[in-house]
Every structure is written in structure tokens, then in C-alpha cells.
Symmetry: C2
Amino acid sequence: MSLSSLSQSAETGQKLAVLYAPIAAELAETERVFAEELGSRFPFVQLLVDHCADFRGKRLRPALVLLTGQACGQLTASHPVLAAVVEMIHTATLVHDDILDEAMVRRHAATVNAEWGNETAVLLGDYLFTHAFHLAASLESTLACRWIGRATNLVCEGEMQQVHNRGNLDLNEDDYFAIIRGKTAELTAVSCRLGAHYAGADEGVVNALENYGRDLGVAFQIADDVLDIWGEERVTGKSLGTDLEKQKLTLPLIRLLATSDAATADRVRRLLVESSAENRRELRPYLEGSGALDYAWQRAQRSVAHALNALDVLPDSGAKTILRTMAQYVVRRTS
Amino acid sequence: MSLSSLSQSAETGQKLAVLYAPIAAELAETERVFAEELGSRFPFVQLLVDHCADFRGKRLRPALVLLTGQACGQLTASHPVLAAVVEMIHTATLVHDDILDEAMVRRHAATVNAEWGNETAVLLGDYLFTHAFHLAASLESTLACRWIGRATNLVCEGEMQQVHNRGNLDLNEDDYFAIIRGKTAELTAVSCRLGAHYAGADEGVVNALENYGRDLGVAFQIADDVLDIWGEERVTGKSLGTDLEKQKLTLPLIRLLATSDAATADRVRRLLVESSAENRRELRPYLEGSGALDYAWQRAQRSVAHALNALDVLPDSGAKTILRTMAQYVVRRTS
């Protein structure tokens, strides 16, 4: 089972509660800060904020802030604030992503664009982004604003590259990794960097944990992309095949095109260009037969291995064990 | 002539250059910081950034940062940075506004949404917002991030209220002023607050200049709304009547509906609901005959008078004179 499907059922919700037990109080405080910061005197704005609070599932990024902090030393009053900030940034990107993807449903609720239109979704995302920075600026130094600003720039840049390359069937692995390191891995990386730094870790440990977060994010995104092609909708709780529909080339397809003979590559390209449910089904045997899906899983596993290695700088602790478990979850395939 | 049309011609461009002469060096430095901060290693992202740099015309907000600073004391190295930050926030709102308004042209160039699609426009706006905060966090204290964060929250809230009230023909003056104080006046207010504070002004002066900026912004928005109904497209360089088309109630119409007899109000409401070019033309005599347009101009003039009063805290100086002139420009009608 991948992290992307971890919280789709009551059972996995319970698993998460167990996993996060050592940071339960700080996660609750994170929720309180999140809700308090976003309160609005306008009922309409409050309604929107309450609605999109339900989009958040795994609390992955806040958990990373808190667990890396705990693994490095003592959590401080800054940690729940930072955890709320990264979750707000993440929520803003979800609201804006749903516009880009023309998505109608997220976590069994209507998306903001589906319910209130693109205009409201654009503005709500902006509201969440700017609140995140407002909240980050409540801390003593500008460091958090600076790091989160930098990470968010790279997230946007990665997303713009992705949109720009839609339909580009010549996208190569380097391009793909540049995109996912930006759009997904920067935010998990900075979450860990912040958690470690604000617990007083030295620069070497802070950098190691940032690398852990980056590799975790890369593995997480590869797994998400594989599941988009190969997962079961029932289990993942998302509509799948949307990357193919949007002609968004992900690792399995890049690998398939790079390793196929000319005739097969031509056939695959045609199936991608004339995207339809039937053509997408026809792609599956190519992906499986060529070993391209396995290759993508192996790349995800390699990133997980790097993430686990990065944790070696830490002394053993309960929090370290949970960080290991989180990385390992990413590449457990949905059975 | 209103500020909204000030820079539409070479002639007014020259007028602005004369007006801004005492801050010419700092405006040039602002441009340099703006371009440097937004540089991207991705050619596509750089192309977008360069394109939207052309949207900026009057440099109103950077000029306010620099002139209020100069009027309060000495400009510092922080001032061009702050000026670039508020201009970046403003540019982000323009890029996102063009999505909301489905606008095709801005300052004689294609909008980002028209040229590259809504998706790219959403992300480019996010990129500009987050860069603004990243840059603000390069200053020594968190103050700028905090104030700009708060102002930008209120801008988004005002815009969300405006979208929410589209088609609401019962919108009253209080609602209208709450919306424009948010969406327009908060950013001019915070520009002046920052300019004064970073020049070492005491709290009383900082607050007075914030009020100047807020009243200037309110007057500016009323003038813009009146010109949307009543301006000449040739002079303003914008497509007009878009507020009516979008059933966005602005001050002249709110006044007209509030002061008309029942039969007239009914007729006006019908013309608004069934919006067409012909119906919009039919509205004009009602607006003029009722004195509603004059009323709106008087409200704008009252805000300008407040803005001018707020400047009384300052000693006489060249910068103070320019701040006075800028406020007076706002209510010079296009002849």
C-alpha cells in the first residue's frame, strides 16, 4: 500500500493514529493553529476554508516537521506553527492543482472549482498561500519565511514545467526528476529541514534530514504516478489514468518509450496522442511486458533506500523509527 | 485624467518620469531587484516572467514606498527591496485577476491566460506571490513579511467577497467599501506604511501615511469603477463596461438603485440582469440623470481630501508635494 492511499479507509486512519501517537498533542496543536490563522469575518470565506480543511488526509508534511524535530531533540512552540504553515502551503497547491486538473472530487468531497468555480478556487489558493507566509512571519526570525519561500518557488517552477511539457512525448528522465523534485519533493524536504533546525540540530544533521525529505518526496511521487496508471480506483480513492488523459508523461512511460524498438515506440506514441479509455487500456500490456513499471518501482525503492541512509546521522529513537516506517510505506504496493 | 489612464500614452509616460524624478535612482534599483529575484533557470518560466513585467505601468505602489520613505527621512537599502516586493504582489494579483475577468489584453499585450492558458496563469501568479515573500524575508526582521502577509490576506478576502457578490443587486455601500478597501486599498496602504516605517518614522506618522495610502487606494478604485462605466476606451486603453457585463455592482449603480423610485429601480435591475451592450448603453442616462455618477466622484474626492489631510503630519518636502499631486491626479476626470 502506498502512502497516497494510506488514509483512504478507517483502518488506515487507525494505522496513522498509531504511527503518529508520539506527536498526537503537537498535531492537535497544529490543527488549532491552522484553524485559528484562517478564520475570516466573512462567512463565505470561512465556509471555503472549512471545506478545504477536509481535503487534508495524511498530515504527511506536518508529521515530518514534528517527527524530524523530535528525532533531533526537543520540539518547541515553533514546531506546530511551522507544521501548520507547510500544511497551508500544501492545501493551497491542492486547491490550485484541482483547477489545473479540472478535478471534480477530492477525498470524497467536491473540489472548490467544481463547487464554487475557478475564480473562487484561484483566490482561495492565494488566501492560503499568503496566510502561510503571514503565519511563518509570526516566528522570531525570517529564516522560516525565507526557506519556505524558496521551496514554494521551486514547487511552482516544477508545476509550470509540468504544464509546459504536457503532450511532450520526448520528455526524458532528467526532465521528469527535475519536475517532481520541484513540485513534490521540495515541500517534504523543507518540512524536514525546518523540523530539524528548530530542534537545534547542527547543519550536517539539518542537511541530512532535508535529503531524507527530498528522497521521500521523490519516491512518493513516483509511487503516485505508477498508481495513477496501475492502481485500483477502489483502493486509492482517486480517479486514475488522469496523467495519461492529460498527456503527462511519467516515469513508466518515459522508460517504455526509451527502451522500446522503433515500431513499438511509434505504436505507444499513437496510443498516447489519441488518448481514450480504450487506448489507455491498450497501453497496459506494453508497460507490464517491457518491465517499465518494475523499473519505476525500483527507482522509487532506490529513493527510499537513500532516504533511509540519510537517517543514519540520527541516534536511535521512537521518532527515527517512525520516519523509517514512513519511508518504507511509500513503496509498499497496493495489492 | 485618472491615474488609471496616466501611463497610457507617451505624453503621460513623460509626466510620470517628471513626477518620479526624485526617486529615479531607487526606482531603477527596484527594477533590478525585481528582475533578479524572478530569474529562472527554466527558459519557459523566464519567458513568462519577462512577459508579465510589461503589464506594470504606473509603478504606483513602488513609488508610494519610495516617496513616503523620502518624505519621512532617508531612504535605506531596504526601500527598493520593499518596493519590488509590493510590485511583485501587485503583478501576481493582475495575472490572477485576468483569469477571473477572462481578460484577453492588458496594456496592449496578451494576458498570460490568453496566451498560455489558465493553468500557466494560476501557477505564474503563485510563483510571483511566493517570490514576493521570499524576497521580503531577505530583510532583517519578519516585520515586512508579517505586514505584507496581512495586507495580501485582506486583498484576497476582498476579491473573494467581490466574486461571491457578483450578481447580487442588493449589495450596499458598506459592502462595496469593505470590498474595495480589501482588494485595492490594503496594498497601497501597506506600501506607505512600509515606506514610512523603514525610513524611521514614529508610529503616529506611520499610521497617518498608512491612512493616506488607504484613502488614495479607495479613491483610485472608485475612479476606476466610474471610468469602467463612463470612460472612453481610446483614452483608458482598457475594454470598458466589464463590471456591468460581469454583474459586478459598483458605487454609481449602488447609488442609483438606492435613490431611484421603485419603477426605475425595477427597470435598472432588469437592464443589469439581462446584460447586453445595448442594455448597458440604456443604463447611462439613468446614471447621469440621477446624479449617481456625480455622487461617486464626490465620494472619491472625499477620500482624496482625507488622504491629503493625512499628509499634514509631514514637514514640507519635495516628496510630500509629489504625494499630494498623486492623490489629486486620481480624481481628475478624463475629459
